[in-house]
Symmetry: C2
Subunit: 418 residues, 2 copies
């Protein structure tokens, strides 16, 4: 089947977000096609300028006095996320720690709020660090993790979650967009079912924040965590964010009592009095460069608008599915993501039995995807800076290299993969 490049060009010409590409620093390699913005987003130019000022001016010139501004960043970045990235009220989101540490803090807070209940529900395709956190908590507290068995290409269903619920369940925690397949879970339906069973819910938004609408308020979500270095373009290792619905702020306590969660922090009192606000879920001194990265990155997403970003994500992934069907399926690829665009986030995963070799060969051809076990290419065309022609050209290179057998020349055995 012939698909003309002109199709991709027409889609780009009609793209309302096209101008945002120029807001990012794209490096010097014009031939490089980056399809892994869902692992590490590209740097916004504004962020690079902000970090230059932080290091060259504020740290150097303001020194300790810089904290007069830095102390507010966790909340400022949180409010930008609450207003423009996820559906949340001001004061319900704060940027802090890593996703894993935030999962731990909020999971403990939830479990403490459901004494006597003995089960954590998650799914066996949830991101590994989520599964590890819950395993650790189960062991420490004598609980059980009930893992829903999930089709790794289709995602977790409301029916499967409902079947796992009963009055022993304290907490339900799932990823909103599956890290492997990109499948979107039914946030509203699952949250309602969990509440019906008397459980609290904790959503991991790592792959949905900045890529798809996240209806935290309208779904009445209790708790959530998310990542800022993927679709929010916060930079390598930028801190995570956490969300706690406002009526829960004073009901819940997180376990790591630290000075950034303390009311009147700089009074240096000896007794812990948690703040009444979202700040009670903070712990220690935050990484200032990463806070600026999160703030600026979330700001660009908010400016573009999550609905527009999601619409473009659907357009880009739809093109990928079309090209897969036309070019790649005959070469041994299968789609390992939902075929229905409404069920997908902003990335698509393809299975190939030599996926690791194909991944290396594709990189050698100047395209950067992600490899994921088992034998999958995870391909994320970040909507803010990826063109339809990038997808077209990248997939053409993939088709050509596999048709030519170039991947057979690369090692089948994986060394450490990031």
């Amino acid at each position: 089947m012939i698909i003309e490049r002109a199709l991709a060009e027409r889609l780009d010409a009609a793209d309302p977000l096209a101008a945002f590409r120029d807001r990012f620093a794209l490096g010097g390699d014009d031939q490089l096609i980056y399809l892994d913005g869902n692992s590490l987003g590209r740097p916004p130019k504004a962020t690079l300028e902000r970090l230059r000022a932080l290091f060259e001016e504020e740290w150097q010139g303001r020194l300790i006095r810089g904290w007069a501004e830095w102390i507010e960043l966790a909340r400022r970045a949180g409010d930008v996320i609450a207003g423009g990235v996820v559906e949340a009220r001001p004061g319900e989101v704060v940027v802090s720690d890593s996703t894993t540490v935030n999962l731990y803090k909020l999971a403990v807070a939830a479990l403490d709020a459901r004494p006597g209940r003995t089960v954590i529900v998650t799914d066996d395709d949830n991101f590994p660090t989520d599964q590890y956190v819950f395993a650790g908590l189960a062991e420490a507290r004598g609980l059980r993790v009930r893992k829903i068995r999930t089709d790794i290409d289709a995602g977790v269903s409301l029916a499967d979650v409902s079947a796992a619920l009963d009055d022993t369940v304290a907490l339900v925690s799932l990823s909103h967009v599956a890290y492997r397949s990109g499948a979107i879970a039914d946030m509203a339906g699952i949250t309602a079912a969990a509440h019906e069973a008397g459980a609290l819910v904790l959503w991991d938004l790592s792959h949905s924040a900045g890529s798809v609408p996240v209806p935290l308020n309208s779904a009445n979500v209790d708790l959530a965590v998310g990542c800022t270095y993927k679709h929010l373009n916060g930079g390598p290792g930028a801190p995570a964010f956490l969300y706690v619905r406002e009526d829960l702020h004073t009901q819940l306590r997180q376990p790591i009592w630290g000075w950034f969660g303390q009311r009147d922090q700089f009074e240096m009192g000896n007794d812990y009095q948690p703040a009444d606000s979202i700040e009670r879920f903070l712990v220690g001194t935050p990484p200032v460069p990463g806070l600026y990265g999160a703030l600026e990155g979330a700001g660009i997403t908010a400016e573009a608008g999550i609905d527009a970003i999601y619409a473009k994500a659907q357009s880009l992934t739809e093109l990928m599915v079309t090209l897969h069907d036309a070019w790649l399926a005959p070469l041994g690829f299968t789609l390992a993501s939902p075929r229905d665009a409404a069920q997908r986030g902003a990335h698509v995963t393809l299975h190939h039995k030599q996926a690791w070799q194909v991944c290396q060969a594709w990189q050698a051809r100047g395209v950067i995807p992600d490899f994921r076990t088992p034998e999958r290419l995870r391909i994320g065309p970040a909507p803010l800076y990826t063109r339809h022609t990038d997808v077209y050209d990248g997939f053409a290179r993939l088709r050509d290299l596999v048709a030519a057998g170039e991947h057979d020349a690369f090692p089948a055995e994986r060394a450490r993969v990031t």
Copy 2:
């Protein structure tokens, strides 16, 4: 009493570390005297260049491929600290999270290793976040915190710690250098006494790492945490480090199970298998800018040598005590730090009943100290870039402004203080 500036000039001329001042970016304000490097160290020039490369080249150009190097940074920075900042073996230190999160992780690991014991010993002048962590753990686990009552100007004594020990004590945790007075605790004596009682010890090195020798190995210390943004000059919010004695690596487990603590992290297995090494005390994705800050900052400290740094710290603080006695004591100041240089870290604290007003007036005169409750100026002349003449000139300004009553014009009520 007349003390000539020539004294300070002679000390600077003989200073073997004098050349290190040029390794730091000192900003454009030649008149500014910075005496708060113990809260936030100045930027090393090498760090600014490294961060520029990280943001402008690696993030922008290497993108996700940058992780091939970044993934090793937590351990590389840890090994620099282990080799050149604290006395520890390679593989016993890693950079991770905030000091507070690390305190929590290691305290839980220690408490789990002493089942049946019900007491955590600390002191009531320990840094507030340490006290909060232990209060939270005591509440969660039904334990008791036994707080030694400490003279806030003299620090905690071995005798006081020994009196608090018995066979109910699971963990003893103290600061090596007291955050307020700068008093150095007897690490070897207290660790031995704790071990004698069957307890584990966890030292907070936030104010000692990079300022005084830290004999972790020769004192047979079990556990420690420390800060990299103070004397190690890692930058605002740079991550903390943690130390675990190597024979304890496989005996202890920390509670926050995450993918960076997992053996074969990128196999993405569903079951948590902690690494056998110091990496098992890691949790989630680390803040890459801060890791570079810690790495470069620790490197300069290691190059200068901690014994030389400590010798200069003693010389600088000795000059401060001399100037205090001569100039400031008659103006209502008292020394709120040990008078014996061997008992002090790299900062000195002065009490004045209008300390907050004096602090503001001193800043207006171009000198930056730190304010600490109750009514104290904390003054840290970081040895790597502070000259004896800086101390002399800064104290002269302090003497003159208080003698002139300039501080009376500043608000007595404190707003939020950083």
